[in-house]
Amino acid sequence: MSEATSNPTMTAAELEDKKNKEAYFTAGQMELVWSRFKRNHSAMWGARVLILLIMMGVFAPFLSPYNPTIEGRDKTYQNGAPQIPKFWDENGFSFRPFVYTHSRERSAATNFRWVSKEDREARRYVELFVRDWKYNFIDLTLDLPGDTLDIDIQMFESNLHLFGVDKGMLHIFGTDAPGKDIFGRTLHAIYTSLAVGTIGVVISFVLALFIGGISGYFGGKLDAVIQMITDAVRTIPTIPLFMALAAFIPDEWSAELRFFFISVILGLIGWPTLARRVRTHLLTERTQEYVLAAQLCGASAAHVIKRHLLPSFTSYIIVDLVISFPYMVLSETALSFIGLGLKDPINSLGVMLQNVTKADVLLNYQWYFIPVFFFMALVLSFVFVGDGLRDAADPYSDHK
């Protein structure tokens, strides 16, 4: 059966080429998208950064040496500058990187103010795989107002951390006012912001599919009515909507519940744009012959939408989801920034950014700005990956 025997003059290179071509013409849509995506360098770099950031978020407890909440604060090093591990100083060279011990004191000599002192003799050596505070790799706790709906999943308890020091603590990104480790907080903040974004995107996605699906598939008067409602929802400014809804969050709600509620609201507000796209796709697809064929076979509307229409633009939906993700993260940060979103015990990027705005921080504690760079990297990588996916999913983009 093989082509090589039927055509003996074909060289190995030609054969390889032919095989590639055949693979190209028989490839599924996802494979095509991936092969086009791979050729886009800026998108690939975005994807690498994004995966790195997601990993940092997911493995935050393992990577951060100290508990990012108030329990893990360093009392002897508050508002402390980042400590960069060194290999040598005037006291000699060491194979193991080290930092110095800091102590705080207040006495008549310091005019009764707290003064931080660095002790260059007392070195703290960096160690790998240290045991410190306990955490769970999978940790889902949600305490909803009722008793029956509580979710409490905690698995894979561990106290292993990637690095630490032999005595005292090490803060590679410095500490904030109460002495919490900014490195650990940043990693946990990435996780929180990603989680808010995911919940928000999933909720708005389901709503958009449902509403846009009905509107696009049935068309006509139903479509007109749904479109008018969608437009009305899109016209209401989100920030005031949020503020009104935030007034409902009782003060006694736990930080986790607040976080869950905020993500749900983000999802409930975010659906109209996506719903419109789904509708437009469906409006053009529903007159195609394969839909008519399915209808003639007696398929129900739900079946036609689910099995025939949705798969026809899955790639577009994925692209839309990736594109809308950074806007969810941005809404979260904006809300937390004006004090309506997440609040301090929770580490989210919005909460971290809020800390940056004090004049004191701008002038004296510049290391508070480190999370800002992570935030920018997260948004930029999402946008570039979204653009790359969009181009890759577009069947017309190939001929360039």
């Binding site: 360098h41 800026s42 008018m228 409602i229 437009d231 009305a232 899109r234 016209t235 209401i236 400014p237 989100t238 920030i239 005031p240 909507l241 503020m243 009104a244 007034a247 409902f248 594109i323 950074p326 806007y327 941005l330 940060t333 904006a334 920034f337 004006i338 004090g339 309506l340 950014l353 940056v356 705005t357 701008l362 800002v372 935030f375 920018m376 990297a377 948004v379 930029l380 946008v383 570039f384 979204g386 653009d387 969009r390 181009d391 577009d394 017309y396 983009s397 001929h399 360039k400």
Partner: protein
Amino acid sequence: MFQFGQFVVTRAFMAVITLLTVSFIVFTLMEMVPANCAERYLSYKSFSGAKITAADIAAEEKRLGLDQPYVLRWGKWVGNVFFKGDFGQSCILRVGINQLLGQKFLLSLGICLASLIFAYMIAIPAGIYSASSNNKAVNNFVRFFSYLGLAMPNFLLALMIMLASTILFGDSLTGLFSKEFRDAAWSYERVQDFLSRVWLPVFILGWSATAFALQTVRALMSDENGKLYVTAARARGLSGWPLLWRYPARHALGPIVNSLGFDLNRVFNELPIIALILTLTEAGALLFEALARSNDQQLAGAIIFLLTASIVTVNFLTDILLAIIDPRVWRSIMGGN
């Protein structure tokens, strides 16, 4: 022509319906905020030592008409707004809303529209270029720079510019007017002073809006670029910008004109944050104040209503504009059925 008139009337009718729906939602939201006007008025009295009973509150509610059914009160509010342009009184500040707002809403609207124009002035050429060019380095640079506006939190940008200008020029650039013009009447000098300060919020808001605009333009352009009519135009010997402007860009820009109203909404959402940092005295700051601090339902409701009215108006105008340019738009709606 008759059909076109019919289209305009239908659109206007739909705009009014949307506005009514939105006003109902806004009114409901404002009602949901705890404590009503009667309790507010009386809480002042309780400061001065007088005892307040439930009967007092009920009497006050009756005096203010708060005991009437909900829909009736909404109707009254909307009626006053539509026919008299009167938003009623703020019960926290006890001043007429119209007097409180004054020109502030127009200022905010102006800032938002200016930022939108700024954003699209960058996004349209950059998006067309980015979707059509093969020069990867320039393309990536243009996109990176535009997206930076989105990724860089706008309050941070505001803070950094303020800090830089304080160090370099000794003026923090905050506020919309400098001291001597704050309460002055409009004059040539005041306009000059205003323009020398207003560019900062416009720039910040515009840059962060650029990213979204660019993404949209780019997506629409690359959808059009591969189509056969573009190839056909290319075969006729057209190339470069003349080709792009004449063929794909015309198609691609339609949906953008259509969504201008919603873009206005997005920009206005960011305004309170910028206003907070730059201490701007306009409606965005007032809205934030009313919602997050003083809980002033009437003031917030009025601002949100004015904003949605502007969005609906912009949407209506762009619809008509598009229909004039492209007859298929109204034929597809009016003609088919």
